[in-house]
């Protein structure tokens, strides 16, 4: 399986996107911007956190969906539509059905517990505390929590089939054929309407009912990855642009933060949406270029991390919540709390992976290696 | 020698038409031609053999299998194409080939490719774009390429242009090489049947008029031109199927020709001018007009 060996950078990028999610979620507790909305929001805060995490937020999941689209196309090529569905149901559908209720139950349990016992509660915890004192507390609507991306992936696979059944000809060839400059300009335009319809920074689409904006924002990235599969040279065409894209993104991010301060959080304005769209596309491309240049290799550590990333991401949030609820009543600075929560969460997640998952039935369920690369390991 | 099919006492009634008391069988390795006008019952007969219609009474045996009880076994070795049978419009011919191949283990891909070329068909084309002739050829190709033991073909050459007709007959002739394979085909083009068939069966108004081996069939019939005033009485001359007279010329169509017959006619005062063989079309029309058995 020589062809899969070449895609270490895709594996590694995916692992990076997943693991960055842990850091991102840990940092949310110390973000002034999200203080009113996040359950583990801490007294200790820093604007420096906002400066970094919203930057990361703009391209972390887009990058993940590019990788997902890439591997979907590869799997489709190799095993056909039925093979793709079967494999994805086993690797994505089943874990979603099994872990989503468990993870959400664990989070709501620890949150209710924290609402009752934490001495310095966040605004969200306070609200929950008030609710729980009511006679008939309203149940939270069912949702997918931070596993929403698995739910959407399932939709994307179905839509892949829909598109292949309905779309005549090869529009993919047209899109691949565009000059890279045009691609980098037109792609953000495509995303802007979706981003303009939600608040900025965009929330996680956790509802069981799918959201138009999530399809409109993440869908094109999935398609981008899908079209990249078998045409990886397209990434190299962005190489010359990469430094400029990085610079432009940083500059635009400054504008974004400036606009955000005056922003009413119902729906993003068109300029904000455009800026978000540009940054997410351009930074995703920078990541792809960088990944292909720097991360296209594998060693035991990288492979281990990439194997573990799926499990780590699934279970990290309840563990992080438990740790951060404990930290809420400590009198440490935000830096210490953030570092401890990140390190401790990783430690627990990786330990549980090593002991409970890697060589057990759970590991087989998640694919000891992530799906497609799994076949490379087997070869 | 085993039989390709055997019908006995088969009756099938429709609202305006009935197939009555059909007794017919065909040995393996033969080609039988069904001749009849439109609505004579050819298609119904083929449908009964193909398992698409159930006979009201009588027994049907195809390739040694009782129909309809063992129709799966029979249909597995059966090629069947009727004129009104269609393929799936939205699919390509390639799709049909793959579909048929997945059902019949006997599918011969090399032969299929050969037939595609000979029939001038494009596998990647959708059936919706096929002309009538291409559709017929596609259907025949799908049947030929799996080399069935018995081919039931309803009007396989009707509506084809002369070149296509020739190609189809050539492909049909391939079947003759194998003595275990049989063909039953109907046509109102008697030329095709006259050329290819070993046995000829006349169907008219739901009954069999005749079913015999072709050579003796053609041998027995003669068109006799005689001179003189003698006109035979049909009752006394059962061998004569039709008589026409114009002045002193008498044209006789004879269904059981023999030298003895000519002598007997001469003793009646007829001066024989010629006694020529007849073609199948002529024989068929005369038979139908005479309203009796050939």
């Amino acid at each position: 399986m020589h062809d899969t060996v070449r895609f270490h950078y895709m594996d590694n990028l995916r692992a990076l996107a997943m693991l960055a999610g842990v850091v991102f979620h840990a940092a949310l507790a110390y973000s002034p911007l999200l203080h009113p909305y996040f359950p583990t929001a801490d007294r200790a805060q820093s604007p420096a956190i906002d400066l970094v995490i919203w930057w990361l937020h703009l391209f972390r999941m887009p990058l993940f969906f590019v990788v997902a689209g890439f591997f979907a196309a590869m799997l489709l090529n190799k095993r056909g539509m039925a093979g793709l569905f079967l494999n994805r149901l086993r690797r994505i559908g089943l874990p979603l059905v099994i872990f989503c209720p468990l993870v959400i139950a664990a989070m709501s349990y620890s949150t209710l517990h924290a609402a009752a016992y934490v001495r310095n509660p966040s605004p969200v915890l306070l609200m929950i505390r008030q609710f729980s004192q009511m006679a008939n507390p309203p149940a939270p609507p069912p949702g997918t929590g931070h596993l929403w991306f698995l739910y959407y992936l399932l939709f994307f696979y179905v839509l892949t089939w829909v598109a292949r059944s309905l779309v005549p000809g090869k529009p993919g060839n047209f899109m691949r054929g565009l000059k890279p400059g045009w691609q980098l300009l037109l792609f953000p335009m495509l995303l802007a309407p979706a981003l303009a319809s939600v608040s900025a920074p965009h929330p996680a689409p956790e509802s069981l009912f799918p959201q138009f904006w999530a399809f409109g924002f993440y869908g094109p990235f999935f398609v981008f990855g899908y079209l990249l599969s078998g045409h990886e040279a397209l990434i190299d065409r962005f190489r010359g642009f990469a430094p400029w894209l990085l610079l432009a993104s940083v500059a635009l991010y400054g504008a974004f933060l400036y606009l955000l301060r005056r922003h009413v959080p119902t729906a993003a304005s068109v300029p904000i949406a455009l800026i978000e769209a540009c940054i997410s596309v351009w930074m995703t491309c920078v990541c792809l270029v960088a990944g292909r240049l720097l991360l296209n290799r594998s060693n035991r550590l990288l492979r281990y991390l990439s194997d573990a990333s799926y499990w780590v991401y699934i279970v990290h949030l309840p563990i992080l919540f438990v740790i951060q609820y404990r930290l809420m009543d400590m009198a440490w600075g935000w830096g210490a709390k953030f570092t401890v929560s990140v390190v401790a969460t990783f430690a627990v997640c990786l330990l549980s992976y090593h002991l409970l998952v890697r060589k057990t039935v759970v590991g087989r369920l998640l694919g000891t290696r992530m799906p497609v690369a799994g076949s490379a390991a087997g070869a | 020698m085993s039989t390709a099919f055997a019908l006995s006492g088969v009756t099938k009634r429709y609202e305006n038409f009935a197939l009555r008391d059909i007794d017919l069988s065909m040995p393996e390795g033969q080609v039988m031609g069904l001749v009849g006008v439109n609505g004579a019952g050819k298609t119904t007969l083929l449908r009964i053999l193909g398992g698409l219609a159930l006979a009201d009474t009588g027994t049907v045996e195809v390739l040694g299998h009782d129909m309809p009880a063992q129709q799966v076994a029979a249909k597995s070795d059966l090629g069947f194409a009727t004129e009104d049978m269609r393929l799936f419009k939205t699919r390509t011919l390639r799709w049909h080939m793959d579909f048929v191949r997945s059902i019949y283990p006997g599918w011969d891909e090399v032969y299929a490719a050969d037939l595609l070329r000979r029939f001038d068909l494009r596998a990647e084309q959708r059936l919706a774009g096929f002309s009538h002739g291409q559709r017929v050829k596609a259907l025949l190709m799908l049947n030929f390429a799996r080399r069935p033991k018995l081919l039931l073909l309803d009007e396989p050459t009707t509506g084809l242009d002369p070149v296509a007709r020739d190609e189809v007959l050539e492909a049909l002739a391939d079947v003759l090489r194998d003595e275990a394979r049989s063909v039953l085909f109907s046509s109102h083009n008697t030329k095709d049947i006259e050329q290819m068939a070993d046995t000829i069966t006349f169907v008219h108004n739901g009954t069999l008029l005749a079913s015999r081996d072709k050579e003796s069939f053609l041998d027995d019939w003669r068109r006799v031109i005689c001179h003189g005033s003698w006109v035979p009485d049909k009752a006394a001359w059962p061998e004569i199927a039709a008589v026409r007279q114009n002045g002193s010329i008498v044209e006789l169509k004879v269904r059981q020709f023999s030298a003895g017959l000519l002598e007997r006619m001469q003793t009646q005062g007829a001066e024989i001018r010629s006694a020529d063989p007849m073609n199948l079309e002529d024989i068929f029309v005369t038979t139908v007009r005479a309203g009796g058995a050939a």
């Binding site: - | 002739a173 391939d174 090489r177 050329q195 290819m196 050579e215």
Partner: protein
């Protein structure tokens, strides 16, 4: 047994069979040996060596005859005539194995029963002999062509006599015509106009 020339000959036979049109092609693809057996009378020449001896002596027969559906001559008669012509012309030498009935039927696109009948007629006429289980061969009589020509001559001669009778020509008239024919010599052999 096989000298170099025969080997070449055998090779040529294979090549001819291989490129002799798609009909032979499809047959060869299925089983090249089977194809050889078909042409050389199946059952008899069960060993490859024997097959080779056949090909050393006889050329491959193209089983396709040129038959016409628009010809008023019955199909079997057309087959009889063409095979007779081939034998008379020496295309098919004495002892040459004939194509099997099915092979000839398939190649010429006529029914098996027609070919059967034609072979039977040819057998009766002594043009071919059919050995049970071995197939048919051109009759092994040394002056077959002569006897066939003789038969044809007799046929035409009888027809001429019948015609003459109807014209009311006497034997002397005919003799006179023959003498005239002789007198004009071979220079104008096809004068042929009857008075």
């Amino acid at each position: 047994m096989l000298d170099e020339r025969s080997r070449l000959c055998v090779h040529a036979v294979f090549t001819v069979a291989g490129c002799g049109g798609r009909r032979h092609g499809s047959c060869l693809r299925r089983n090249a040996d089977g194809c050889l057996f078909l042409h050389s009378g199946r059952g008899l020449y069960s060993t490859k060596g024997a097959v080779h001896t056949v090909y050393m002596k006889y050329a491959q027969i193209d089983p396709e005859l040129f038959l016409s559906t628009s010809d008023s001559t019955p199909m079997y008669q057309q087959i009889v005539n063409q095979i007779t012509t081939k034998v008379m012309a020496g295309d098919w030498p004495a002892g040459q194995p004939l194509p099997s009935i099915r092979e000839l039927a398939s190649a010429s696109r006529v029914s098996v029963i027609t070919v059967k009948r034609a072979y039977a007629e040819l057998g009766q006429a002594g043009v071919i002999v059919t050995r049970h289980g071995m197939g048919s061969f051109v009759a092994d009589s040394p002056n077959l062509s002569d006897s066939l020509l003789q038969a044809e001559f007799t046929q035409h001669f009888d027809a001429m006599l019948a015609c003459a009778r109807r014209l009311g020509l006497s034997v002397d008239d005919i003799r006179q015509l023959l003498d005239d024919e002789q007198a004009h010599g071979a220079a104008e052999p096809t004068r042929g106009s009857t008075p």
